[in-house]
């Protein structure tokens, strides 16, 4: 029997790995599908390719489907997030000039203290801070707004967060158009490699368990093609499990490095896969366990509470009704579709589809649908928690 072919769009980033691996390592073939991987030039065009049916599924910034449901960013078809492709995996970096000022001010680039690094950044950045993010609706932007406003630097008065495509980030910081950036790997490491910036923090230091990219499909497609969707979710989940095994890192880096996919040196990709980042042009290294998660702690599970958190952040900064937005956002992360697809695998599935975000200070074992499940630490740097049941207007 001939495999069903699904076109799947991606942006050349490390966290497109589960899609590339699903195809290259045969996890898609095991499910009787072939992924026709289409490299997209920008997030907006990938979103449009998905909306208008050029691709069936796409690698997508987790806030994009939520923003679409809230009517932000133009007209599109309703999108559904059916899996989380990756948790964390972003870095915040600064220009050489700003790094110099931070060092002069006594900052040690420890790469793990969001409060210390944030306060140092606010002191060093006068009068305003210009930060590049890949897209207006991105976890990068949400983490920056959350982090800086919690430390008392209100946006947009003192922070100018602007869009710069990932592949142009190093160039933009070199040209002095931005002072800092938050970007997905390997583009932070590329800035270091080109000698134009230093890395200040991993995104995980702000929120220890931030859903970074999702597997997105059109909502109507999810409803009319449940069997194909199930195969896709399972293939990608198995790819994530393979990627979560440290023994796979070298091969994964080689696969991703191919001209068809990221077309970048495997050695640089390997750094972020293993969490051993070079953070400055002088070659200082920092080890970040869990820098990017594809599997552990039920990483692929699309929690409704994650969508609600994103919905609340987007509503707060665009002036939408907070309660209504959180309610709309909830339905975008389709926990049930993910659950149904994985029930026939060995995946551990949580008993609930929503949780209090930021409450787990360490890896914690809980009741699962059957047996037990271990979730990763998910705290916010400022210790706040997000309880979806307690949203205030």
């Amino acid at each position: 029997m001939k495999n069903a072919v699904l076109s799947v769009g991606f942006i050349p980033l490390l966290d497109a790995a589960p899609l590339i691996v699903a195809q290259e390592m045969g996890f898609a073939a095991e499910e009787g599908i072939t992924l026709d991987l289409v490299r997209a030039p920008s997030w907006s065009s990938l979103r449009d390719m998905l909306s208008y049916g050029r691709v069936e599924a796409a690698h997508m910034l987790s806030p994009v489907p939520v923003a679409a449901a809230l009517g932000l960013g133009g007209t599109q078809a309703p999108l559904a997030a059916v899996s989380v492709l990756s948790v964390n995996g972003t870095v915040i970096g600064v220009s050489n000039a700003l790094a110099e000022r931070l060092r002069d001010g006594g900052h040690n680039f420890a790469f793990d203290d969001a409060r210390g690094a944030g306060n140092a950044l606010i002191r060093a950045a006068v009068p305003t801070l210009r930060i590049g993010v890949p897209f207006p609706f991105s976890m990068h932007a949400e983490l920056l707004y959350y982090w800086l406003s919690a430390l008392g630097l209100p946006a947009p008065q003192n922070v100018d967060i602007r869009t710069v495509p990932p592949s142009l980030m190093a160039q933009a910081i070199d040209a002095g158009e931005i002072d800092a950036f938050c970007v997905g790997e390997p583009w932070g490491s590329i800035a270091v490699e080109n000698g134009v910036g230093s890395l200040l923090l991993p995104g995980a230091a702000i929120w220890a368990c931030a859903p970074e990219k999702v597997l997105a499909v059109r909502s109507d497609w999810a409803d009319t093609e449940p069997a194909l969707l199930g195969r896709l979710i399972r293939a990608v989940w198995r790819a994530g499990r393979w990627l979560g095994d440290p023994a796979s890192h070298t091969l994964a880096a080689e696969l991703l490095a191919r001209p068809l996919y990221l077309d970048l040196p495997a050695e640089i990709l390997d750094r972020s896969l293993t969490g051993g980042l070079v953070i400055s042009p002088r070659g200082e290294q920092r080890q970040t366990p869990g820098f990017i998660e594809f599997h552990s702690g039920a990483a692929s599970f699309p929690w409704r509470s994650q969508a609600q958190w994103i919905g609340l952040q987007l509503a707060s900064r665009t002036g939408l009704d907070r309660v209504a937005s959180v309610k709309t956002a909830e339905g975008v992360f389709r926990s049930n579709l993910h659950r149904n697809a994985l029930r026939q695998t060995s995946a551990e599935l949580p008993a609930a589809s929503s949780k209090i975000e930021g409450a787990l200070g360490a890896r914690t074992t809980l009741h699962a649908e059957s047996g037990r499940i271990t979730l990763n630490r998910d705290v916010f740097f400022d210790g706040r928690i997000f309880d979806p049941a307690q949203i205030e207007r």
């Binding site: 030039p41 920008s42 997030w43 907006s44 065009s45 449009d48 390719m49 208008y52 050029r54 932000l72 960013g73 133009g74 007209t75 599109q76 890949p134 897209f135 207006p136 609706f137 947009p156 602007r162 869009t163 710069v164 495509p165 592949s167 142009l168 040209a175 158009e177 665009t318």
Partner: protein
């Protein structure tokens, strides 16, 4: 003039930009600006406050324009992505042609149509030209390699050009490969052997 549509074309290839501008001029009376470089794209578009922005879909800087959709800052008129929602067909045609248009929300689709029609036709033409160019280049490259391989065979085996080509073609057929690929393998192997 208030009811002249202002159109921005984002395109860094000067010749291509000029051609698009020409085709827009033929389509109607528009106030046209061309932005050539990605630097500060969002800011510059904002400053010009256009009715329509046309940008190649393969341009990664397109994401910078998404900010405008948030309708913040000095540009008070919200910018909607793509074509008016009433016309899905036009949007699809634009996507297939590889052009994205950013349009001020509420712009009458009748006024937009000539602009997009002209742009879409132009983009299609470019796509065909690009494909032709790539194909021609490849054909030329392959002919060069085949000629080199033929020369090697002629010298090594003392045969004429026709026999050399027949030999290559037979090897290709036997191995189920293209003549150009067999020729390339021969040239590479000869290079390795010195």
């Amino acid at each position: 003039m208030a009811d002249r549509l202002s159109v921005i074309v984002v395109e860094n290839d000067r010749d291509r930009a000029l051609l698009i501008v020409d085709s827009l001029r033929e389509a109607g009376d528009f106030d046209i600006h061309v932005i050539g470089e990605a630097t500060g794209l969002g800011r510059r578009v904002k400053a010009l406050s256009p009715d329509i922005v046309l940008i190649d879909i393969s341009n990664p800087s397109r994401d910078m324009l998404e900010e405008l959709a948030l309708a913040s800052g000095p540009m008070e008129r919200p910018v909607a992505m793509f074509v008016d929602r009433s016309d899905d067909g036009m949007t699809k045609a634009a996507i297939e042609a590889g052009v994205s248009a950013y349009v001020v929300d509420g712009l009458n689709p009748k006024r937009l149509k000539p602009v997009l029609d002209a742009a879409i036709a132009r983009f299609h033409l470019f796509q065909r030209m690009r494909t032709e160019l790539i194909e021609t280049k490849r054909a030329l490259e392959e002919r060069k390699v085949i000629d080199r391989a033929k020369g090697m065979l002629m010298r090594a085996r003392g045969i004429d050009e026709e026999q050399a080509y027949a030999l290559l073609r037979k090897a290709a057929m036997d191995q189920g490969k293209r003549v150009a690929d067999v020729a390339q393998a021969l040239v590479t192997a000869a290079g390795l052997l010195g």
